[in-house]
Assembly symmetry: C2
Homo-oligomer: 308 residues x 2
DNA sequence: CATCGCGTTGCAAAAAATGCACCACCACCG
DNA sequence: CGGTGGTGGTGCATTTTTTGCAACGCGATG
């Protein structure tokens, strides 16, 4: 679409922080770029950028305009997808921002299931922590977000939510593996390994530990849930994760037990979208499938949660 | 804004039903218009119009695109108003679709009150029946709608709602004026004058009459509430209206009495906007003022409703 | 004080949009 | 049955808009 070229240029300038660099990125001359932007500002009736020595930066008006552009852009792709849909093509694209815990089992299964019915639909899966995921929604970079304990920005609209208790993951021969449910103090007495602070699991742990005047003092702190799962096989330590990320690992050495809800209330795994936005058909349908899957996952695993 | 020119042309074509006529309306040549539209269709990847002998008409894809344009357009004016707001100009424009009953008293008072605080804000007031008013919202022609008994389309999002009982309006010397509250059957026995079918008052009347195996048989059927109020002064007939439209008439000859709620349940006067839409600042603020005014109007008139 | 990178501007060249004349087509009608 | 008046579409010259190139002024920086 041609009409939005100026907005694309504005976006490029924002990214580059400088008109000349942006011009190079977009393969046009700096003069052309500058004039387009100046003309736009004039037509619009307000400046979008602060001109400072060394480059430019968006001012508040510019932020609003850029947001408008992103919303417009997103609505346009929704329209295209709807049009494609009514001509029977069944194409489309779903972009979802999710936390790591969904990667091993839940999301691949769901995507495969959806694609089995709609082979024309493509996906992008962006792994983000909970703050980033909400940011993705707000900038229309992702249609959906599936995150554990999001920070609840105002723009986040919940589609479905299920509880997830934090689980301890360890080797089968670990002493703690003998009990069906663990107390938090026993866990913190053990050498442990934990995700870094920006993840919901750690957030819950920190909060609960502080309440009991304890501290989470991990031997290894990491951003990778995969590392946690693998590390506990190599040393006599325990790790923390949520159960939805703990399915389908062949290794019988790896076991997990819930932390007692008395010490650590379950967190929420939440599927959401940008508030007020109309999603493209493909994304909307996938969201509905996810919501259904989450609900049934929750109801089937709830009564068993003590046994895991 | 220049980028949206093509959309404006599309809108003109839809209005005119023919490319040549639209071209004339927009002061360009038919060839230029045709080529712009064809180019857009090519870029967009789908035809927007059915070409039939004698003109063109939107196809479903075209409807979607047109809707996208209107949403975009409306969002842009919202952004402009927000930008104006943050530069401290306090300008803006509010467009509201409302039913006639709001014209004599409520709306003028509210607009004047708002403009006293924000003199830079301008208004357009569009008088529409309840179906048209919702249509206005859906096409972004109005920001707000204030209507009696709307048809509740899916796109209508309620901001505030207050009950309004149908009142009988008549001359002070009319026999029925003696009672504080009237039964519907007594009203229908009298010669009466009523709004036409598309108005909420008539809708309620028809429904209630049918329930009592009676019929509304007006001597005069009109679209003008003002005519009703004036006519009852000239002949011994009764009229029907809602109380919010019956304030502040100097003529002491004009009296009104509620119809008993046993016969005619009160209808709802509803303030609403397009679902999911972010209103321009001025409209949003005015909507909040209206909501407050409605609420206090409702609570102050409720206990008195039997006396009116 | 020279230098470097920035945004901006004058001017000519390139590209895009437009107007004009005309075509093919279809419905209608004498 | 052949005008006639309407439709959308097209080739080409013209006008308008956009772009690239070179240069300028200006502030920060070394």
């Amino acid at each position: 679409m041609r009409h939005l070229q100026t907005f694309r240029l504005i976006e490029a300038v924002v990214r580059a922080g400088s008109m000349r660099k942006a011009a190079e990125d977009m393969n046009i001359t700096a003069s052309a770029l500058v004039r387009r932007i100046n003309r736009f500002e004039q037509e619009f009736g307000a400046e979008l950028f602060e001109r400072l020595p060394g480059g430019v930066r968006l001012n508040p008006a510019g932020e609003l305009v850029l947001h408008h552009y992103r919303a417009t852009q997103s609505d346009l792709t929704r329209v295209r997808s709807q049009v494609a849909d009514l001509s029977g093509e069944r194409r489309g694209h779903v972009s979802i921002a999710c936390s790591q815990a969904l990667l091993p089992y839940f999301l691949p299964q769901q995507i495969a299931r959806y694609r089995a019915e709609h082979p024309g639909v493509t996906f992008s899966v962006n792994v983000r922590d909970r703050a980033q995921a909400e940011q993705e929604l707000a900038t229309y970079s992702s249609d959906l977000a599936l995150v554990f304990e999001p920070v609840y920005l105002v723009d986040f609209q919940v589609i479905e939510t299920i509880p997830q208790a934090v689980n301890v993951v360890m080797r089968a021969d670990h002493p703690l593996a003998a009990k069906p449910e663990l107390r938090l103090r026993d866990c913190l007495d053990e050498p442990h390994i934990a995700p870094s602070a920006k993840y919901g699991v750690r957030h819950l742990l920190d909060f609960a530990a502080r309440r009991g005047s304890r501290r989470v003092a991990p031997l290894v702190e990491t951003e990778s849930f995969e590392l946690i799962r693998n590390y506990v096989l190599h040393e006599r330590v325990i790790g923390f994760q949520i159960p939805i990320g703990l399915h389908g690992f062949g290794d019988p050495q790896l076991v997990f037990r819930p932390v007692s809800e008395r010490d650590l209330p379950p967190g929420n795994l939440i599927l959401g979208q940008m508030r007020g936005r109309t999603l493209p058909v493909a994304s909307a349908r996938f969201a509905m499938q996810l919501a259904g899957a989450l609900k049934s996952y929750s109801s089937e695993s709830d009564p068993l949660s003590a046994r895991r």
